[in-house]
Assembly symmetry: C2
Homo-oligomer: 352 residues x 2
C-alpha cells in the first residue's frame, strides 16, 4: 500500500492538515484507492517533544514514504534558538536536503471567483496561468555560511554545480513542453558568476527542446514584469533564493498566498505543502485557509501517484466552493459567507 | 563653482540626459546658481571609444566632482565581452564601488495623475509614499566570485562587514526620523547568516532612535506585502541584491519604472541616475521617458546642494505636466497626448 508521511508541524499546520486529510479520505473512498497515512513530528512541535526539529523517526519515515504531506513550521517560541536548530533550518530545510527535493513547483492560476479580491487590476490578472519552478536544494540556502573577525563580518556562499543546474533546468524544459511551451529562465547574469553559469547551461540544453521557446530575464526585471504583465509567463525556472522571492510575489497573482500549493520533487517522490507559513497570529482560532493544503494534496495525487482524475476532482471542488461565494477570512469577500477552517474543509468535501 | 560630471552612457541615456540638463539649466538660470557641467564617457560608449567601460579620466572627474549625473549603460553589443569588462560590472558597478556610494535611495510616490495607469488597483496604490534604501557597495555584487572544477561549479559570496551594515542602517534610521518614522528592515534571517548579522545590528542601533518604530520582515514576505498593502511602508532598508529586486518591483507602485529616480550617496556626494536601463529597443527614436532622469536631477539639487526650493520646483513641474495629461509612450494614457523625449523635456521647462 502506498505510504504517505503526514507532518502537521506548527501553528495553523495543526488545523489545515486535518482538512486536507478529510478531503483525501472522501475522494479516495469514492475511487477505491487505499493509502496508508501516518503522522510524524517536525519543526517546533518536534523540538518541544523530542529536542530536535527533525527527529530520526520522522526522517526515516519520510525517506520510506512515497509522499510527504506537510502543514507549516516555525513560530516565535523557537526564534531564539541557534539558527541551525530552529524549525526552518533544522527541520524543513534539512528535510528538503535529505530527500534531495531539488524541484519546487508552484502553479499560479487565477481562479475567476477570486479576481475581485486581487490587489491587481482585473485585466492584468484575469488570464494568469503559470508555474514557477524553483531550485530547492542549492544556492545561498545550503552554501557555507559563517562569521569572521577582523573585521567582524558574516557571509553566505551562493554555489551551484553544473549537475544541480542541469537537472532543474531539464525539469523545467520538460514541464514547459507539456504546457504552452514557453520557458523563462530568471537570473542576474549581469552581476553573478553563478548566474552566468546557469545561463550557459540553459543555452546548452535548449537545442534538445526545440519545441520550447526559451527566454532569459534578470531577476529585478522579472519581479517587475510579474506585476506589469504577468500573462506573458508560462513556466519560470530560477535558483533557490530568487525563487523564494518570486513565488511569494507571484502568489498575489492568484489572489492570496492562502491559495498557493506547492510540490517539491525528486523523481516521483514529493513533499507537498502550502507555500504559506505557520501564521502564529491566527493559530488555534479556526480561521486559517486550508485550501492551499487541500490543493497541495491534489498535486500529490497527480504528481506522485498519477491519479489525475482524483486530483482534478479536488481542484474542481475547490473551484466550486469559491464560485458559490464561500471564503476564508484572508480572501475577503461577502462577510456573510466567511467560513472557518473546518467549515471550509467540509464545504470542499460536500462539493466533491 | 560646484562641479557636476555628466555621464550619458548608452542607449536612451544619450537622449534623456540632454532633457535633464535642459531642465536644470532653466531652473538654475532663474535662481542665479552657477554650476559647471562636463560630459564624460562610461559604459559601452567608453568601451567603443577608449577600450574600457570606466576610463581613468571619467573616474578622476567623478571623484573630483560634487555630483555625478548618469543616464544608463549597457546593450546587446557589449554582452559578449567577458563579464568584468562589460558596461555593468566594468562601468557602473566599478564606479559605485570607487566612489563608495553605499546608500542607494529610491523614493516611490504615486503621482495622482498616474494612478489609472498602474497595474494595481487604485485603492491599493493611492497613498503610496515610501523610500527604499538599498545597500549598494557590498553583498553578492562585490564578494568573491568564480568557477571551480571537479565538480564543475560557479559561486558568488555574499559578505557584509559590521561597518558596512551599520552605516547603511544608520542612514535609514536618520531618514526615517525625518519622515513618518517607520523603518522596515528586510532580510532572510531564517536562512542567511549575513541576514542574522544584519538583524543584530538593527536591534543594536534601534535604542539610539527611540522615535523610529522599527520592524523586520523576510524578503519573500516583503515582495508580497509590497503588492498586497504597500501603504504600510515608510522607509525600507535592505542589502544590495534584495534591494535591486524590491526597488524594481516597487517602481510598479509609482506607475512605471520610467518615473523612478535614484540617488546613490556617500556623505553629501552623490550619483544620480534613473532606475531604469538603457532600453536598446527604443534608443534613438525619441520615445524614451526622460522624467526619471529629470527627477534624479531634482534629487541632486536637494541632496547634494541643499537647493530644496529648486529641486521642488522641478518636481512640481513634472507633476503639472502629468496633470495636464501629457505622457510618454511607456505611461499609456490618451494617445493624443503622447510626447516624445524632447517634447516631454520642453513641457517640463515650460511648466517651470
Ligand atoms: C520557511 C522558509 C525557510 C522557506 C524558504 O525560504 O524556503 C519558505 O519561505 C518557503 O518558501 O518555503
Ligand atoms: C545594471 C545593473 C548592474 C544594476 C544593478 O543590479 O544594480 C541595475 O539593475 C540597478 O538596479 O541599478
Amino acid at each position: 500500500m502506498p505510504k504517505i508521511a503526514v507532518l502537521p508541524g506548527d501553528g495553523i499546520g495543526q488545523e489545515i492538515i486535518p482538512e486536507a486529510l478529510k478531503v483525501l479520505d472522501a475522494v479516495l473512498k469514492n475511487s477505491g484507492e487505499q493509502f496508508q497515512f501516518q503522522e510524524y513530528l517536525i519543526g517546533g512541535a518536534a523540538i518541544d517533544a523530542r529536542g530536535k526539529a527533525l527527529p530520526e523517526d520522522t526522517l526515516a519515515a519520510c525517506k520510506e514514504a512515497d509522499a510527504v504531506l506537510l502543514g507549516a513550521i516555525g513560530g516565535p517560541k523557537w526564534d531564539t534558538l541557534p539558527a541551525q536548530e530552529r524549525p526552518e533550518l533544522g527541520g524543513l530545510l534539512a528535510l528538503r536536503k535529505e530527500l534531495e527535493l531539488y524541484a519546487n513547483i508552484r502553479p499560479i492560476k487565477m481562479m475567476p471567483s477570486l479576481i475581485s479580491s486581487s490587489a491587481l487590476k482585473e485585466e492584468i490578472v484575469r488570464n494568469v496561468d503559470m508555474v514557477v519552478i524553483r531550485e530547492l536544494t542549492g544556492g545561498l540556502y545550503f552554501g557555507e555560511k559563517g562569521r569572521k573577525e577582523h573585521p567582524k563580518a558574516a557571509y553566505d556562499v551562493l554555489v551551484y554545480t553544473e549537475e544541480e543546474i542541469r537537472r532543474i533546468v531539464e525539469f523545467a524544459f520538460v514541464l514547459a513542453g507539456q504546457r504552452r511551451k514557453k520557458l523563462c529562465s530568471v537570473d542576474k547574469a549581469n552581476v553573478l558568476e553563478s548566474s552566468r553559469f546557469w545561463r550557459e547551461i540553459v543555452l546548452d540544453l535548449a537545442p534538445q527542446y526545440p519545441e520550447v521557446e526559451v527566454s532569459q530575464m534578470y531577476v529585478d526585471n522579472a519581479a517587475m514584469q510579474l506585476v506589469r504583465y504577468p500573462e506573458q509567463f508560462d513556466v519560470i525556472v530560477t535558483e533557490n533564493m530568487f525563487g523564494d522571492i518570486l513565488t511569494d510575489l507571484a502568489s498575489m497573482l492568484g489572489g492570496s498566498i492562502g491559495m498557493l500549493a506547492s510540490a517539491s520533487m525528486s523523481g516521483k517522490k514529493g513533499l507537498y505543502e502550502p507555500a504559506h507559513g505557520s501564521a502564529p497570529d491566527i493559530a488555534g482560532q479556526n480561521k486559517a485557509n486550508p485550501l492551499a493544503t487541500i490543493l497541495s494534496a491534489a498535486m500529490m495525487l497527480k504528481w506522485t501517484f498519477g491519479l489525475n482524475k482524483e486530483g482534478q476532482l479536488i481542484e474542481d471542488a475547490v473551484t466550486k466552493v469559491l464560485d458559490q461565494g464561500y471564503r476564508t477570512a484572508d480572501l475577503g469577500g461577502d462577510p456573510g459567507r466567511i467560513l472557518g477552517t473546518r467549515q471550509m474543509g467540509d464545504a470542499v468535501v460536500d462539493a466533491l
